[in-house]
């Protein structure tokens, strides 16, 4: 319709991305898993699998089970550990003209601080995404992300430990996501990403056992999209920092729902498993949408929800 180049670029927490499509942590490995399907250079940003100070084996299998329009995973945050990540995974990731955002987690505030400090020096890391859905071992195993005060303390700790752009990723398993978001903002986060998975469960009626060795797992995929969208919208009423939306985005229409509701960018996770071509199709779909409406920049779409 138009020959004008469309401007899909967005800036989040000072990270400039050529488009708003990010790949979600835990669904894209360390950037290599989809190499034969996707040119990493077309992505807005790559978020890597969550890393911890030490390598982690994760949970026993079975680790995944399909549910209606969704899947439960109980990977248990298996990862190669901080030092191996820097040494063996970063060189590959540095090749691309795409910002690399490193997702990380700890089981104490000290862990988060050490991780943030160490990652800050590393060449090629554009920003950090702190996953605060993990249990705080020191304080009775309650997730950092479910209590505003704890969420604030861990964010403050990380904030002081790094000069990198800091995105905090929130868990949806809470009563008031806005309250958590607000306290994370006030503690110094540059942006928020939401949501992580909802805790769910499946039972095998033949064996009378939980399907997952871990009993419970995190629900992702289109099933949770309406809940994720509501949380993004609700959060945006409480914070002024940018919000990255995710949860069940499968196609351009889904992504646009989040952008219209005010998310400045979005991540896709489970969609990649189902359709490795999703990044191309989603970006094309967003371009068509702009063209059909005679818009030249994505910024004209973000937050246009009429209430």
């Amino acid at each position: 319709m138009t020959d004008k180049a469309l401007d899909l670029s967005v800036t989040i927490a000072g990270i400039r991305m050529k488009n708003p499509l990010m790949v979600a942590s835990g669904t894209f490995g360390y950037g290599e898993a989809y190499a034969s399907f996707i040119d990493n250079n077309i992505l807005g940003a790559i978020v890597t699998k969550g890393i911890s100070l030490e390598p982690s084996q994760g949970n026993l299998p079975p680790r995944i089970v399909e549910t209606p329009s969704g899947m439960l995973n109980a990977i248990g945050l298996q990862n190669v550990g901080l030092e191996c990540f820097i040494k063996e995974k970063m060189p590959y990731l540095r090749q691309f003209a795409t910002p690399v955002i490193v997702n990380f987690y700890g089981t104490s505030i000290a862990d988060y601080i050490k991780l943030a400090e160490r990652l800050t020096g590393v060449d090629g890391i554009a920003g950090l995404e702190a996953n605060i859905s993990c249990p705080n071992i020191k304080e009775g195993g309650i997730s950092f992300g479910t209590d505003p005060a704890m969420a604030s303390r861990v964010t403050e700790g990380i904030r002081k430990a790094t000069t990198l752009p800091l995105i905090v990723k929130l868990t949806p398993n809470v009563t008031d996501i806005g309250a958590i978001a607000k306290s994370v903002q006030d503690a110094g986060a540059d942006a928020l990403s939401l949501i992580n998975t909802f805790t769910g469960m499946a039972v095998d009626v033949d064996t009378c056992k939980p399907v997952l060795a871990n009993i419970t797992g995190g629900l992702s995929g289109p099933a949770i999209r309406p809940l994720a969208l509501r949380m993004v919208w609700e959060t945006l009423k409480r914070v002024s920092i940018p919000v990255i939306g995710l949860g069940g985005i499968m196609n351009a229409q889904d992504a646009l729902q989040f952008l219209i509701a005010g998310a400045r960018a979005f991540e896709i996770g489970t969609a990649l498993f189902v359709n490795p071509q999703a990044p191309y199709e989603i970006l094309n779909g967003i371009e068509s949408y702009l063209q059909k409406r005679n818009l030249s920049a994505l910024s004209e779409v973000i937050g246009t929800l009429q209430q």
Binding site: P61, R63, M250, V274
Partner: protein, 267 residues
């Protein structure tokens, strides 16, 4: 390992119900056919929309020219939907995925041990072995009933293979589990470490026994495993098995493993 898998839009060329509930598909997918090796698998999209959501992993049971073959059993909703497909249908596949069976240069005897539908990847291997090498070939096939013979007979030509068919219902010469006869036959035929290689696919209880026999006779043994998968490409870490030295991904580090590399306590 960086694989060469991509998304393929294949056409279902032919469909045959080999025995009730088990289907043979031939799909036109030239690029896939060209790149695949025995032991590799594809992730197949069952239906548009989000239920069922995940692709289903299926081994390649062969390639021929521009086509690939699948042999699958109806198990749950996904395979049931596939069973209703008609030739001409367009099918989304990703592949080829995973590693493949290794055929050592020095191989003298190949012993294939299949349990039920586990025959699928071994039929592909069998074809390659016949085409590419001059060696002694044994095919052990274990099934519940005699009628399952149709899964392999016709593919496994008796001149190419020494063929042993074992059924649980005893309708054949050999009754019981295929693993009950394996050791005896290895013994009888004096197959041992020297240049022999066992290739096996089937239920994990069977694989465990095959691995034990292989170890006893000190014969290298490659097993093809199954696991519930989300991505099939090594990204999600959903499909791991316990191996010596930590978890391995069935989809990307496997599905074929040296039996000695696995922790067999996992089932």
């Amino acid at each position: 390992m960086i694989h060469n898998a991509t998304t393929h839009t294949a056409e279902l060329v032919s469909k045959r119900e080999v025995i009730p509930g088990t289907f043979h598909f031939v799909l036109h997918a030239p690029a896939l056919a060209r790149q695949s090796r025995p032991g590799q698998f594809v992730m197949i999209q069952v239906q548009d929309g989000t239920d069922p959501l995940l692709r289903r992993p299926l081994s390649l049971s062969g390639t021929c020219g521009d086509t690939v073959e699948l042999l699958f059993q109806v198990k749950g909703r996904g395979t049931q939907l596939m069973a209703a497909w008609e030739p001409g249908r367009s099918v989304s596949l990703i592949g080829p995925l995973g590693n493949s069976f290794i055929i050592p240069d020095v191989i003298k005897t190949a012993v294939l041990v299949a349990g039920g539908i586990g025959a699928a990847p071994l039929l592909y291997l069998a074809k390659i072995l016949v085409e590419s090498r001059d060696l002694q070939r044994e095919f052990f096939f274990g099934a519940k009933t005699g009628k399952e013979r149709a899964l392999v007979e016709g593919c496994i030509v008796n001149e190419d293979f020494e063929y042993v068919f074992v059924t649980e219902d005893g309708t054949q010469k050999f009754q019981g589990f295929v693993t009950d006869t394996l050791a005896g036959e290895l013994e009888r035929k004096k197959i041992n470490a020297k240049g022999a290689c066992i290739y096996s696919c089937g239920p994990s209880s069977m694989l465990k026994k095959v691995a034990r026999i292989a170890a006893a006779y000190n014969i290298p043994c490659q097993v093809s495993l199954e696991a519930h998968m989300a991505c099939g490409v090594g990204a999600c870490l959903g499909c791991v098995v316990e191996a010596r030295g930590g978890f391995k991904r069935v989809c990307a580090d496997g599905p074929v493993f040296d039996s000695r590399a696995l922790e067999w306590n996992y089932d």
